[in-house]
Point group: C2
Chain length 179, copies 2
């Protein structure tokens, strides 16, 4: 992996762990095993690095969501498959964590790629919900169950609240559609 790539990967890890405010250029360099000059040669600064990391996150998360949401099955089954995907819960959501950081939300350059990613998933979910004649607002409900599940799990120090939140939501959807 090139030095440039290592810098982006380090930034991704650190942003996920510690958020934007909690991540320093120095920490990025050390984790990437790159020098100061090297980092500033490849990137204009911390914000530029974060932008590259967010872009990479969006690519990966989009590809993953596409897999489950376009699998065969009923709307309920596809949404359930997406909700149940293996995730490293206690590490937090790579995008969701950033959406809670004031320095991110205060900067349009950093916030909008995150907003666009959520917009994209919301759109995919709405299409699926429409197939089943389901309430379009449920797209945000399920997105929120996921994001909130991360929050509750991190607060509790274990993944159970996440699992319960997701399974409760799926059970509710199944019951509502079984009418």
């Amino acid at each position: 992996m090139s030095t440039r790539d290592r810098l982006v990967e380090s930034t991704r890890e650190l942003l996920r762990e510690r958020g934007y405010t909690g991540t320093s250029p120095k920490a990025i360099q050390q984790r990437a095993d790159a020098g100061q000059g090297s980092m500033y040669h490849h990137f204009a600064g911390k914000q530029d690095l974060a932008l590259a990391a967010i872009t990479r996150n969006a690519e990966e998360l989009t590809a993953a969501a596409e897999r489950e949401l376009s699998s065969p099955g009923s709307p309920t089954e596809r949404i359930a498959a997406w909700l149940r995907r293996e995730r490293e819960i206690l590490r937090g959501c790579p995008m969701g964590v950033l959406a809670q950081d004031l320095e991110i939300i205060a900067s349009d350059a950093l916030r909008s790629p995150i907003a666009e990613h959520f917009d994209w998933i919301r759109g995919q979910l709405r299409e699926i919900l429409a197939e089943g004649d389901l309430d379009a607002r449920l797209a945000d409900t399920f997105l929120a169950v996921l994001q909130g599940g991360y929050v509750l799990a991190r607060a509790a120090g274990n993944t159970e609240p996440f699992t319960d939140a997701v399974e409760g939501a799926i059970a509710l959807l199944e019951r509502a559609t079984a009418v």
Copy 2:
């Protein structure tokens, strides 16, 4: 308000806005219009201040939740009333924001009062759900809808995702219980 109280209130505001990592002792002092020496006279340091702020948050949020959850009405109505309470969405959840901060979750002293607060609400919700013979896991589902709603709203820069998430969840619950 005493200097001590002003320090706690400033800390509460700053923690909600910027998180624990993003809040400095200096910023707390300036917002409280208190000097350095004054702050360290009343509190041992940043962590001590945060602890006082979290305790105060828990008291207020507990009182508020108690109001809606113990109002008259069916389980669905009481949960809906709680979910629909007026909130300053774009300022973030005073507790939820902290649960995403690594410095908080890494410290048992800071994390556990937050965990206990969520535990308490979860318990209240489960009692209500039991009355209606509803799935106990829905306690975390609704808690997550709320927390995730905050995340989505902040990412989007507007409150619509929060409202949609909440209303979608309530509609789903009503439909499932109407069987």
